[in-house]
């Protein structure tokens, strides 16, 4: 086994969490610094791994570390890096320090606790993206509900309790159904392979299930992932949660954790259940497209900024799911890029709006207005985030969205056309929101809003820079994702459809 980079990546935030509770006398840093430094060290490790990562390798995973955990069930603590995981742990490692920096802790009573939960979210997100053992994946998938639950319930708005309860119940409902499917899958594997295993690689490469088993298992897993992502009609927890949670929490939740749902579809559903995936793909595409339009329309009717963002995200998750189930390289790579872009833009939206909301303690759209003159920097960054979110060309979101649409268009023309209407709706909901919150004349409520200071601007700037960078130069993300997607395409036995014209000619 080579140097356990991945273990290091997962452990660093955990160690940071522990250090938070070391008494002050023994440690020369404040709790804020501990949290920040451990997340930065994690980022450095991730960058190192990204540089060593071999995009030309055809191996399913790299940097594998594996320890026996529950050998009797063939369960191991197995971490491995695929291209998709790399992209997503990169996102996680970038967003966490930004959230830590952007969430202003001055005068915050429960600061240490907040830092602890955020670090735990980071650790679990990293672990879930790196898990190559389905049991480990499941365990972290469920366990990460807890830190977010506390983040929502301890630090949110007035109705945070109900929101937290709803959040965790949806999570548990999905997770428990998945648990049943997981165990069933284990026995299918044990019967067929002669050894019980939860290894994702083994399950996807060696298993041949009979049709109905595969269908049921697929549905069990899909249920969990669709609730997590979230897809219509299992989405209603997200607006409630986002409305009540603090912007930092929402960033971690929507920016990172919800990606676990789409990651699961891409990295687990497709390879393990290729046939069922193919069978259900048209239905799922339909659901995703419906979600794109539906959530966009509902977003327009929201009165609360954070709720609006939540619905926008639901709409975007529709795009991501579409790309995944398009079974084309372009679509799936597009989805991966989209996940990154969505993470960055959502973070920018929530955090920028967070600075605003914090000053008024209120996130109702109508209570703002006329901020362009009072807070030009905030306006500017928000606008960029908004444009990134609606996939303006030149932003990372565009690359993702266009690739998703193109990839899906290769197989499903009509649904794609409908989904493309989403880009019009996106302009409407986002600019209308921007118009109501930022433009117009200032009123007496917004008069004393303070603009972002230099530190805050600098904290948010990496998000903007990365969005633009990946908009114009997405090659790193695409290359890394491609190394994994080509394997996925092999696993599901799909090839990309070529141009229609050349097909005609060859006939």
């Amino acid at each position: 086994m080579n140097f356990p980079w991945l273990l290091l990546i997962v452990l660093t935030p955990l160690i940071g969490t522990l250090l938070l509770f070391v008494p002050k006398r023994f440690i020369p840093f404040s709790d804020k610094q501990i949290a920040l430094y451990s997340s930065l060290i994690t980022l450095i490790f991730v960058l190192v791994v990204a540089f060593i990562f071999d995009t030309s390798s055809t191996a399913l995973t790299q940097f594998d570390v594996s320890y026996d955990w529950i050998p009797i069930f063939g369960i191991s603590f197995h971490l491995g890096l695929t291209g998709i995981s790399l992209v997503l742990i990169g996102l996680t490692a970038v967003l966490t320090p930004i959230v830590l920096l952007a969430t202003e802790h001055e005068g915050m009573k429960k600061r240490k606790e907040f830092l602890m939960w955020i670090l735990l979210v980071e650790a679990s997100a990293l672990a879930v993206f790196l898990a190559r053992d389905l049991f480990l994946f499941y365990v972290v998938f469920e366990a990460m509900l807890v830190p977010i639950f506390f983040l929502v319930g301890r630090f949110g708005g007035p109705r945070r309790s109900a929101a937290a309860l709803k959040f965790i119940l949806f999570g548990l409902a999905g997770g428990l159904v998945m648990l049943a499917a997981l165990i069933w899958l284990y026995f299918v594997g044990a019967t067929q392979l002669g050894r019980g295993t939860f290894s994702i690689t083994a399950l996807s490469n060696e298993l041949n299930m009979d049709v109905w088993t595969e269908r049921w298992l697929f549905l069990g897993f899909f249920f969990a992932f669709a609730l997590k992502a979230p897809m219509f009609p299992g989405h209603t927890w997200l607006p409630d949660t986002a409305e009540q949670a603090t912007p930092g929490t929402s960033t971690m939740l929507i920016g990172i954790l919800d990606k676990v749902g789409t990651y699961g579809m891409l990295a687990i559903l497709l390879p393990i259940f290729p046939n069922a995936s193919k069978e259900f793909a048209p239905i799922i595409i339909g659901l995703a497209v419906f979600g794109v339009i539906y959530a966009a329309l509902v977003a327009m009717a929201q009165k609360d900024m954070k709720r609006t963002f939540a619905f926008i995200s639901i709409s975007h998750f529709g795009f991501i799911v579409m790309g995944i189930f398009s079974f084309t390289s372009i679509g799936m790579i597009g989805s991966t890029v989209y996940m990154v872009a969505h993470g960055l833009s959502t973070a920018a939206l929530f955090l920028t709006a967070g600075y605003l909301i914090k000053q008024k303690d209120n996130s109702l759209i109508n209570s703002f207005g006329g901020l362009t003159k009072i807070a030009p920097v905030m306006t500017g960054i928000f606008l960029i985030a908004a444009l990134a979110s609606i996939a303006l060309p030149g932003m990372a979101g565009f690359v993702g969205e266009f690739m998703v649409l193109t990839g899906t268009f290769q197989r499903y023309q009509i649904p794609t056309i409908i989904a493309t209407f989403g880009i019009i709706l996106a302009a409407i909901y986002m600019l209308w929101l921007y118009q109501r919150v930022f433009t117009g004349t200032e009123n007496k409520e917004t008069k004393n809003i303070v603009d972002l200071n230099l530190k805050q601007t600098l904290v948010l700037s990496p998000l903007v820079l990365l969005t633009v960078l990946f908009g114009f130069y997405p090659a790193p993300v695409i290359k890394i994702a491609e190394s994994a997607i080509s394997n996925t395409m092999l696993q599901i036995g799909q090839t990309d459809p070529g141009p229609i014209i050349s097909k005609v000619e060859t006939k």
Binding site: I70, I72, L172
Partner: protein
């Protein structure tokens, strides 16, 4: 003829060494009675403590020393089966009993003394009660009662004979009836609990006994192995056998609080002194399930296809009804009682597995659940108001602010009950679901999933109350316990976390010892 009959009774052969855990506890109980009789009031408590903890420890070491491969045998002329599951159950019961004993011993949290009435014979609220309370008297009979009960449990889980099982059941239960009625505060409720528990318990024992009698009449034997053989060879009157099985099952299902024989559980758990409740929810549950396992897999093992559908229905009902009713509870102890019922249902799900897997899964569930539940009840004893324990949920608002540690640990147990991964509760759920799916009971697992989601609501609501709400004025406070309760809570916490993170420990232990001797 008489001669023949006498000769047909073999001279009993007792393997005293192997039976030593049971005997140790039995002697401890007898010693307790003697202490009551001969020692002056002020010396009793300390002596009792010394005796009980020494004996529990000794018994536990005896279990450990003898539970190796050489220690597996049918002893006492085949009436006691010391096999893998038997040893594990004995060990678990001793540990849980020790933890409950620690709670019994706690006298610091209540300014009036320990959890038990100063003199059970006094009238609640009467002058005499006040006097004896002021004098600092204590009803130290709880210790021999506890020892007797533990003795009964140890025998119960290893009993390989219907009659021994019945006697063990009574030895286990009779002290509990008394213990349930000994609460120092809210004595009216406590006495009511004792009465209910006693009448219903006696009824259930009678049903069990009648079932045993019918089984005997049908198979001609009381010993499990021979019953099993008798069932396979006999071909007459299966109706009688069926009734016998059903009656025996009811007797056992009553003890584990399965629906529809569960109704005593909430009342008794609520009314009994909390240390006793923890003992009932922990040790009694382990013992009852141990007995149920043995009867169903050894005595009625060949009829598995008959009783399994029955268990499915009961398991489903128990999980759903327990969880659903728990939703609307306002008293925490009562909620935990329903949770205990619901958890019983989950354990029953494990019964749908094949022999080994089912036994292992059930054992794992029992161990994890017993530790967590004792921990939860132990925490209840710390959350108090002027008038005693404060179990009204709504008053727990903001407890997390007053005592993050207590509230945090309570949350841990709640998450464990809810089956969140990385806690022992998840290990347990995973185990029974795995066993059930392997046994083809996927629909039951789906019902279990549904019940888990419902159950999660009330567990998580406790966390929400404690952590996400602001404290109410004059709400309960958390007292700092003595070393006794601290040890109990720490042990539960450690077990809950360790078995969540490294379930292999318990899985190895259990799966190496999941075969019943017959």
């Amino acid at each position: 003829m008489m001669q023949n009959v006498v000769n047909s009774i073999p001279t009993p052969n007792f393997e005293y060494a192997l039976l030593s855990p049971i005997l140790i506890m039995f002697f401890a109980a007898c010693a307790g009675v003697l202490i009551e009789a001969f020692l002056p009031n002020e010396k009793r408590r300390l002596t009792h403590l010394l005796v009980i903890f020494t004996s529990l420890l000794l018994a536990f070491f005896a279990v450990i020393l003898q539970s190796g491969p050489n220690g597996r045998a049918l002893v006492a002329s085949g009436t006691v089966a010391l096999d893998g599951p038997g040893w594990i159950l004995q060990g678990t019961i001793l540990l849980i009993a020790a933890m409950s004993a620690l709670l019994f011993a706690e006298s610091k949290v209540d300014p009036l003394g320990d959890a038990f009435a100063a003199r059970a014979s006094t009238l609640p609220g009467g002058e005499e009660e006040k006097t004896v309370t002021k004098l600092g008297w204590a009803q130290t009979e709880v210790w021999p009662l506890l020892s007797f009960s533990v003795t009964g449990m140890l025998l119960f889980v290893t009993a390989n004979d219907l009659l021994v099982m019945f006697v063990a059941l009574e030895v286990m239960s009779l002290p509990l009836y008394l213990l349930a009625g000994l609460a120092r505060r809210r004595r009216l409720l406590s006495q009511e609990a004792a009465l209910k528990y006693f009448i219903l318990g006696a009824l259930a024992s009678a049903i069990l006994l009648f079932g045993s009698a019918l089984t005997y009449a049908y198979t001609g034997s009381l010993e499990f192995g021979q019953i099993s053989n008798g069932i396979s060879s006999a071909n007459n009157s299966p109706g009688l056998l069926t009734a016998a099985i059903a009656l025996v099952a009811v007797g056992m299902l009553f003890k584990i609080g399965a629906v529809p024989f569960h109704q005593w559980v909430p009342d008794v758990y609520t009314g009994a002194p909390t240390p006793v409740t923890s003992f009932m929810a922990g040790a009694v549950k382990v013992a009852a399930f141990g007995g149920l396992l043995r009867i169903f897999y050894v005595a009625f093992g060949s009829l598995v296809w008959d009783w399994r559908p029955l268990i499915w229905v009961v398991a489903g009902l128990t999980m759903v009804v327990g969880s659903v009713i728990a939703l609307s509870q306002s008293d925490f102890k009562r909620m935990l009682a329903y949770s205990s019922i619901s958890n019983g249902g989950f354990i029953l799900v494990g019964f749908s597995g094949t022999n080994r897997a089912a036994i292992a899964a059930v054992l794992i569930y029992l161990i994890t659940y017993a530790f967590a539940t004792v921990g939860a009840f132990a925490l209840i004893t710390l959350i108090r108001e002027q008038a005693g324990e404060s179990a009204t949920l709504i008053r727990w608002k903001g407890l997390g602010k007053k005592s993050p540690l207590a509230a945090g640990l309570m949350s841990l147990f709640m998450l464990s009950f809810a089956g969140v991964p990385l806690t022992s509760g998840f290990t347990a759920k995973f185990g029974v679901f795995t066993a059930a799916i392997a046994g083809g009971a996927t629909p039951l697992v789906l019902i279990g999933v549904l019940a888990s989601v419902i159950a999660a609501v009330f567990y998580i609501r406790v966390i929400i109350l404690m952590f996400f709400s602001d404290p109410i004025p004059e709400g309960p406070f958390v007292v700092v316990p003595s070393v006794f309760t601290t040890i109990a809570i720490s042990a539960s916490t450690v077990v809950t976390i360790i078995l969540g993170l490294f379930p292999q420990i318990v899985i190895d232990l259990v799966s190496s010892a999941s075969v019943f001797l017959r």
